[in-house]
Each structure stands twice: as structure tokens, then as C-alpha cells.
């Protein structure tokens, strides 16, 4: 396994991380269950206790690992295992949570060393349930929240997404890839 071929999905409980990984993974995703030693297929409506894991196969035997962190805030222990190296971070924020700015602050700071080296992309979920704040509001929040951060991409993509919608998740990941190299996929 090449450790650098991974994308980490993070964000608060219920933001849609598990849904997003399921939407694009080539294999049924594996969620680490707290009780069982075996891999259990994640079912809808469950909170992820430890991690989600999905794979994108690239045809030439190489693959990209998709990891989802647990939403609960106190498990930064795991994130250290997850975030050594990688392609980037997808931060999903839930628009129905009481204080999304606080969530944004928490997760960007929890990953502050990581996002100094790799790009971050913000996906705002559940805007169908609660349209405000909108992406412009989030851009303002980001300016406040990130004052003491050194982000590789200080002007990150901020998209409304539905974690269950494949097109939305594809756009998040593609925006992440273009943030690494805007020239990707053009003629050499």
C-alpha cells in the first residue's frame, strides 16, 4: 500500500462522511465497528464509531484509499494514524448543526499540520434542510477561523453538497485534485 494515495473525509457527527465515501467507493465500504473484530458493512442511520474505509481502483493496480474519521470530536488519536501523508482533506460541515463555524474551527485546527501540506475542500451538507449559512457566509467564517492557520490552499473550494449525491461528491474530489495541480489531465 502506498500511504500517500489516500483522501481523508472528516467533519462532525452526521455530516455525511460515510454517505460520501459510499457514494464513490468501488467496494462496499468497511466501517470499523467498536465491538466486533470483523469488518462490518455500514448501515444507514449508524454513527461511525471509529473509521470508514473505501477504495477507488485505478485499473493499473494502483488504488486510492478513502478514509472517514469518526465524527466525535475527542478521537484525535485516530486522526494521527490516518493523516500521515495523503492527497488531501475533505471537510464536511452539517448545515443543521447549531454552530457550524465552531465545527469548522475545530476540524481545521485539529488538522492544521495536515492542511499545511495538502489541500482542503469544504462540503456543506444538509442545505436542503437548512439553506443558511450559505457558501458565501462560510467563506467569511473561514477568513476568521483560519487567521492563525497556514493552509496550502487558503482559498479552498466551498461547495454545497448532499453526502448521498454522487455528482456532488465527485465534484468535491475533483476540486481537491485540481487544487493539487490545476493542470491535471491536460496535454503533457
Amino acid at each position: 500500500m502506498r500511504e500517500d494515495n489516500k483522501i481523508v473525509f472528516t467533519g462532525p457527527v452526521g455530516a455525511g462522511k460515510t454517505s460520501a465515501i459510499s457514494a464513490i467507493s468501488d467496494v462496499p465500504i468497511i466501517s470499523t465497528d467498536a465491538k466486533a473484530s470483523d469488518m462490518t458493512i455500514n448501515r444507514k442511520g449508524h454513527t461511525t464509531v471509529a473509521m470508514d474505509y473505501g477504495i477507488l481502483h485505478l485499473g493499473d493496480k494502483s488504488k486510492v484509499h478513502l478514509y472517514g474519521t469518526p465524527g466525535q470530536e475527542r478521537f484525535d488519536f485516530m486522526w494521527d494514524i490516518l493523516t500521515s501523508g495523503g492527497l488531501g482533506l475533505i471537510l464536511m460541515l452539517d448545515n443543521t448543526r447549531p454552530n457550524p463555524q465552531k465545527d469548522m474551527h475545530f476540524f481545521l485546527h485539529a488538522f492544521k499540520d495536515y492542511i499545511a501540506d495538502v489541500p482542503v475542500v469544504l462540503g456543506i451538507s444538509k442545505t436542503d434542510l437548512n439553506p443558511r449559512p450559505n457558501t458565501a457566509d462560510y467563506a467569511k467564517m473561514l477568513a476568521e477561523v483560519s487567521q492563525d492557520l497556514h493552509m496550502l490552499n487558503p482559498v479552498p473550494p466551498i461547495f454545497e453538497v448532499d453526502g448521498r449525491n454522487k455528482e456532488d461528491v465527485k465534484n468535491l474530489v475533483m476540486a481537491l485534485l485540481f487544487s493539487i495541480d490545476p493542470g491535471l489531465g491536460m496535454l503533457p
Partner: protein
């Protein structure tokens, strides 16, 4: 994971967890699955097999006491103690948190190697972890990587872009200006094709929405037939057989400006002075314009003039100019030289393009990933 299959036949290295809460256990299980060099397996609490090695969390409530007890009862079994304060526990072999794959497995291997184990362990020399760490470091800093790329940049085909051929349009004249004013002054208006009296759009600024009876493609065709055919009219209503859909004012401004631009450069935007993207358009909820993700990523990263952007990204000029028109309508662009944007760097564009890129191998990989995602 196919990696795992390669070692499926090898015996498990049994690991006893000490003082690990259920979530830490879960993470170790995941880490063990991700490690392909050896078959580590964390024992369940009620599994009384003798472990090969133990991992303790000294910072958990009972971690220290349990670790002491385990050592007394199992003096021959190596124990790796994890803690945030290694200096406080000189009696243990410690691994300082945060724990990383790159340090966890070499530490376990080291502990297991000298111990008088009764069975053959499928361990290899620790050459690979070093390599892994290097890969990781390199991957984490794609931008810096390129400084070590020694090859000269590959010859690039010159994009077919002639600045003299660029056409202009003025978003502050004609229909677009009227639409902007109606939105600013919160006046509901309809836009009608005067040739047949058909209501195309009804703009309802107070509700922040626009009702439309035409698709983006139809609108494009109508614009090409002549913008002068379109007039503002209040009180017009949709025909019964029109299929009307709604969009936000933001969505409308984005697409109507791209349609009106139709491959031309807005007169407001300088061709040869830097343009910066203040923030990304909400692209998942806007009409998809060709190359919008790429262009947004490029202009968000550092200011570049439209001319330089076309040369460096080798995009179709029309794609860039439509994107700029749409983004400018949403006030996402910053381009007045007076606003403090640095002037264009005097580096030859090809050098600049190469300097910002990951290594060719990495680009190849990312390109395949991009194609894969796009095709999902």
C-alpha cells in the same frame, strides 16, 4: 484489500490490548489491517490465547496499573507502552503519541525481533518503512516536490491563442445591465422575446429567485440570434404549455453572464493584468461551465491574467472568458491593479507552469484518478 491476501497464509501475531478503550482498539484493528507486512491481530478481551506482544495505553484510567500487572504475569511477552509523556515511564518501552503507522510497526517489529519466540514470525527487515516515510513526505508537499525535478520541462504545444482575435462584450450595457439594476433595486421584471412575446424569465428579486421557461441551451440560441430581441417587460406571464423551472438569482446571474459572454472577454476585465478568485463559486449548484473546476483552482491559487491563464492551462480561451464573465457577475473576482493584487510575475510562463507542478509520475497518477472520478 488484495495486499492482505499475500500474507493471508502467514500466522497471526497476536496482540493483547491493555487499557485501550473500544475506539482505540478499533483503530488498532484498522491499522493492523492496513499493514501488509505482517498479520497482526488484536485479541478480543474474552480470548485467552497467549499473545505475542502487548500494547498498552498508559494514559487511560487503568492503563498503568494493568500494564504493570501484565508484565508481572507475563515477563516473557514484550510490551509496547503508548503515552503522551514517555519520560514519566522509564520502566517501559514507550511509543510517544500521536501514534503513526510509520512508527508503530517498526516499534512492534523491534520489540518482537529479539524475543525468544517459539514460532517463525513473518517479519522482514525494516527497509520499507523508511521508504514509506519518504513517499509520505514527498506526497504531502506536492508544490515543493518540483524543485527537485531535474528534467527540463517537456516541449508544449503552443495554444492557439491570439490576443488580437479576442472579442469583447460589455456586461454594463444592454440587457445584463437592466437585469443587474432590477436585482439591485428589488424590482420584479420579466424578460420577453419580442419577436413572439414569449416570457423567458421572470426575475423575483425579493424572493431571491428566477422562474425560467427556457433551458440554458435555448437561451444561448436566443442570445445568438440577437440580444436586441430581448426586452424587459413587467406583467408578462408564462404560457400554459411552458414548463417553468425556478433557480436562485445567483444561479441566474452565473448562467446569463456566461451565455452573454459567449466566448468574449468582459470589457471590465483586463486581458493582461492579474485576476484573482476571491472565493470559489458554489460549483455544485451552478450551471456546469466547461473547465470551471480547473479554472477556479488555478485562479484561487495565485492571481494570473487571462492571457497568462490561457497559455499556462492550455484551456480554450472561450472556456476561460465565459467562466470569468460568470464569476465576475457573482463578484468573485478581484482584478483592479489598485486593489493591491501583485502585478504579474515576470517569470516565463512555461517555467512557472512547471514550478507549480508535482512530479511527472505523481501527475500521471493524479490524472488517472481524475479520469476515474470523472467517469464514475
Amino acid at each position: 484489500m488484495t495486499d492482505k491476501a499475500q500474507i493471508a497464509g502467514t500466522p497471526s501475531i497476536l496482540v493483547r490490548g491493555i487499557g485501550l478503550d473500544i475506539r482505540k482498539e478499533a483503530v488498532f484493528r484498522m491499522a493492523f489491517r492496513m499493514n501488509r507486512k505482517a498479520n497482526y491481530s488484536l485479541l478480543e478481551a474474552d480470548d485467552h490465547q497467549v499473545p505475542d506482544v502487548a500494547i498498552a495505553d498508559l494514559d487511560s484510567p487503568d492503563g498503568l496499573a494493568e500494564a504493570d500487572k501484565f508484565r508481572k504475569e507475563n515477563p516473557g511477552i514484550p510490551l509496547l507502552a503508548t503515552t503522551v509523556v514517555p519520560n514519566s515511564f522509564p520502566q517501559f518501552v514507550t511509543l510517544t503519541k500521536p501514534i503513526r503507522m510509520e512508527t508503530l510497526f517498526p516499534a512492534l517489529e523491534q520489540l518482537l525481533r529479539p524475543s525468544p519466540m517459539t514460532r517463525e514470525l513473518p517479519l522482514q527487515q525494516p527497509a520499507e518503512p523508511v521508504e514509506q516515510v519518504q513517499n509520505t513526505a514527498a506526497a504531502a508537499t506536492p508544490a515543493k516536490l518540483s524543485t527537485s525535478v531535474q528534467q527540463p520541462p517537456p516541449a508544449r504545444e503552443k495554444p492557439s491563442f491570439d490576443p488580437n482575435q479576442i472579442e469583447f462584450f460589455d456586461p454594463e450595457q444592454g440587457l445584463l445591465a437592466l437585469v443587474q439594476r432590477a436585482i439591485r433595486d428589488q424590482i420584479p421584471v420579466g424578460i420577453v422575446d419580442r419577436r413572439n412575446g414569449r416570457l423567458l424569465w421572470r426575475i423575483l428579486p425579493e424572493q431571491g429567485k428566477v422562474d425560467a421557461s427556457v433551458s440554458m441551451e435555448e437561451a444561448q440560441a436566443i442570445f445568438r440570434e440577437g440580444e436586441e430581441n430581448l426586452v424587459l417587460r413587467d406583467g408578462a406571464s408564462f404560457a400554459d404549455n411552458d414548463s417553468v423551472h425556478s433557480m436562485t438569482v445567483t444561479e441566474y446571474l452565473w448562467q446569463i453572464h456566461a451565455i452573454a459572454a459567449d466566448g468574449r472577454l468582459s470589457k471590465k476585465i483586463p486581458l493582461n493584468r492579474p485576476v484573482k478568485l476571491r472565493r470559489w463559486p458554489n460549483l455544485t449548484r451552478l450551471y456546469p461551465l466547461p473547465e470551471a473546476l480547473r479554472l477556479a483552482a488555478f485562479l484561487a491559487r495565485s492571481p494570473a491574467s487571462p492571457a497568462l491563464t490561457i497559455r499556462m492551462l492550455q484551456v480554450q480561451p472561450q472556456a476561460l472568458l465565459n467562466f470569468l464573465a460568470a464569476a465576475d457577475a457573482l463578484q468573485l473576482l478581484e482584478y483592479s491593479p489598485a486593489s493591491g493584487v501583485a502585478s504579474e510575475p515576470a517569470i516565463p510562463s512555461s517555467t512557472l507552469a512547471e514550478a507549480q507542478r508535482p512530479s511527472p509520475a505523481k501527475r500521471g497518477f493524479l490524472g488517472r484518478l481524475l479520469a476515474k472520478i470523472a467517469g464514475l
